[in-house]
């Protein structure tokens, strides 16, 4: 296979490296470690973090893109050919689920199609009936076999997942036991009795439930369409899982785009005051007074114009959709940096009057050094809080924006696009509800986990809240 890196992939990976770098940095400094330890003590937050981590893993897998190698054709020796279509590591794992495309809609776990068709019988006559699906439940001969078959496979999935989970946990325990030299048994009992009052038990339950969900899906997905299929017959579960990447990228890259602006401008406005302050204040008041949706809409319109003008610059539809996703992140970032900028300006104004800054100035320390050494580290908690708080809002915003056609490219899998296409499906009789419900359910899980985690981070990092409680 030949790997390829889209712009959003590159940024997403660099963001992950930055995050890893931050955690390595923070783990060596007590003042940064303390609030994170506070977060890890919150069991609800840790459960949420487990969910977020599993979403993140899917998104990372889905961000490794490559052209798969084609089968060797006889005749041209040594010549390696690649498919023209880019797929991701996740597609590779999803394998059969991605390729089992039906003709059109089918309900969850259906083995018959959603609409009637004329079927030719063997004796030449034809009847109008619901035809069998090509893949969904194809191994069954009758619909009555479905319930026991599903139960059997699901049970197998549960058992497999629990065994895998048990092995994982035991290996973890043994590893921890080796490392601390007091044996894994001591750790096991401490955990079962909940002695360290940590989130260990919650984590065990959370990982076990996630393992079970994955196990059941993995056991059933190759044989049934768990969430049905959409208009063109793609598996809805596959689509929803692919949408995770879109959601996460919008939630994280947007912050990455706006952070430099917000920190640089906010800190310099608060630190230098005077005309710099006036200019920056004017800038963000002006930008924030334009209603966000309208600014995004105008920018999206302009992007449309740009893309139709430079249509030949894009090598493929995927590259085009990717650029549009990146542009959306940039636009969202431009509309959302103002709030953080205002907060940082206020905090810096408070900070610069504090004695240690005055002392640094008296020693003749330059402005740049004061800002880098004394200002920025002291406002980072605000930045951290706003990153995690903004995330869920951005994921929700994506759906709304895609709904009014100014979000991600229609060809890209996203929950917003799924909901958007469900608009017409709801008017059908009987209604096609699965695609809509799957998108909303996935979005709900991600946003709820993000909200719970964000709350814990805010509680741990906000010194003001610490004083009150």
């Amino acid at each position: 296979m030949r790997f390829t890196l889209f712009a959003t992939d590159a940024l997403f990976f660099s963001l992950i490296f930055v995050a890893i770098g931050y955690f390595v940095y923070a783990s060596k400094r007590e003042h940064l470690r303390a609030p994170w330890r506070e977060v890890t003590k919150n069991s609800l937050a840790m459960a949420a973090a487990t969910v977020l981590a599993s979403f993140l893993i899917i998104a990372i897998l889905d961000s490794i893109h490559f052209f798969p190698r084609l089968e060797q054709v006889d005749g041209d020796q040594g010549q390696v050919h690649y498919a023209s279509e880019v797929i991701s590591m996740f597609d590779l794992l999803a394998g059969p689920v991605r390729e089992q495309v039906e003709k059109t809609y089918s309900a969850p776990f259906a083995i018959h199609a959603f609409s009637k068709e004329t079927i030719e019988l063997e004796d030449g006559s034809s009847v109008r009936d619901y035809p069998r699906l090509q893949y969904g439940g194809a191994h069954l001969t009758d619909v009555r076999e479905r319930a026991p078959d599903v139960t059997r496979r699901a049970l197998g999935g549960v058992i497999g997942a629990l065994i895998a989970w048990f092995c994982g946990v035991s290996m973890m325990l043994i590893w921890v036991g080796r490392k601390t030299a007091c044996g894994y048994r001591a750790h096991l009992f401490a955990m079962l009795r909940n002695e360290n009052r940590g989130p260990a038990r919650t984590l065990l339950v959370a990982t076990a439930s996630i393992a079970v969900v994955i196990g059941v899906c993995a056991a059933l997905a190759p044989y049934y369409h768990i969430f049905g299929t959409d208009k063109v017959g793609t598996d809805v579960l596959y689509q929803s899982l692919k949408s995770i990447r879109t959601g996460l990228i919008i939630g994280t890259l947007t912050t990455l785009v706006m952070l430099p602006f917000a920190i640089l401008l906010g800190v310099s406005a608060g630190y230098f005051r005077g005309w710099i302050d006036d200019v920056i204040q004017y800038l963000y008041t002006t930008l924030s007074s334009i209603p966000g949706v309208l600014l995004i809409a105008s920018a999206a319109l302009l992007l449309e114009v740009y893309m139709s003008k430079h249509a030949d610059e894009f090598t493929s539809l995927v590259a085009r959709a990717d650029l549009r996703l990146l542009a959306l992140c940039v636009i969202l970032g431009i509309t959302s940096w103002t709030g953080l900028c205002r907060l940082l300006r206020g905090e810096t104004m408070k900070l610069r009057e504090i004695d240690f800054v005055e002392a640094a100035r008296a020693f003749g320390v330059g402005h740049t050094t004061i800002i880098v050494r004394h200002m920025v580290p002291n406002i980072m908690h605000i930045v951290m809080i706003s990153i995690v708080l903004d995330f869920s809002g951005l994921v929700l915003a994506e759906a709304v924006l895609s709904y009014i056609n100014i979000g991600v490219d229609p060809s890209m899998e996203s929950w917003g696009n799924m909901i958007n296409s469900a608009r017409l499906e709801l008017a059908r009789e009987p209604i096609v509800w699965w695609s809509l419900l799957a998108a909303l359910a996935f979005m709900f899980v991600l946003v709820l986990a993000a909200n719970l985690f964000a709350d814990a981070v805010r509680d741990a990092f906000d010194p003001r809240l610490r004083v009150i409680s």
Partner: protein, 325 residues
Amino acid sequence: MISYIVRRIAYAVPILIGVNIITFVLFFVVNSPDDMARLQLGERRVTQEAIDKWKQDRGYDRPLIWNTSAAGVQKFSDTIFFTNSVRLFLFDFGQSDSGRDIGYDISQRMWPSLAIALPVFSVGLLLTITLALIVAFFRGSYVDTWAVVLCVAMMSISSLFYIIGGQYLIGKLLHLVPISGFDTGLASAKFIVLPVIVGVIGGLGSGIRWYRTIFLEEINKDYVRTARAKGLSESAVLYVHVLRNALIPILTGVVVVLPMLFMGSLITEAFFGIPGLGSYTIDAIQRQDFAIVRSMVFLGSFLYIIGLLLTDLSYTVVDPRVRLQ
């Protein structure tokens, strides 16, 4: 007081000019009118004559900022910038790209927007404050914990779900009200009920949580301790002392959205088929009507700035400690 208001309005003018310049740059400099014409008339096969005609019909054939071929004041006034941007300051929105009078459309569509937004706003505010007070009353107990969890869960549900779910449950299953549409006068009531219910419920989660923190912040202050020390009952402390003082941050936070109510809600109006300004904007975005989007950007910013002004004024009205500077 009057001099303060005048000064604040004077401060708003450069911001409006800034908004105007931003939209001008976005719509006419980043993308030339030629691009717009091509997009509207349909991509590549369009001839230059058709583009020129399209531009001429809409007055986009003038120079951008400075007309060298004209004389005197016309050098400045016979340009795209003057005819399309400066006139917005006089609320002269001109014609949409499809030839309709934008100002007239706005004045017509404002009222349906208001008919939805005003009840959503007032009912929602009353309900959230009441519920938040109740939650604050039970602070630290299981009621409080679960109420907060419920709020977080409600916040995590996409607004689209509330709308679709409401339409399905109330409109399609129970047949209580029509799913979407609008009417004139009192007959519109049955169309308004559903969007209002959906709007109020959709805002409950974040609203209750937000007001609860405001109440809790007040409860920790010294005057509350004094009130309790006097022997006042908990409810008297809450409803008389805390509520009155918490109204200051609530009121000032709320005033800023008041003028924006005219703009309506994009999503709600689009879903319920309300002929308000929100659906007007969405239609314009989807038809790629640049003139309307530009006008709505300007109008929205204008209303927001009015909101900021009102916020500052409301501070001085509700909180006598705030002095006008």
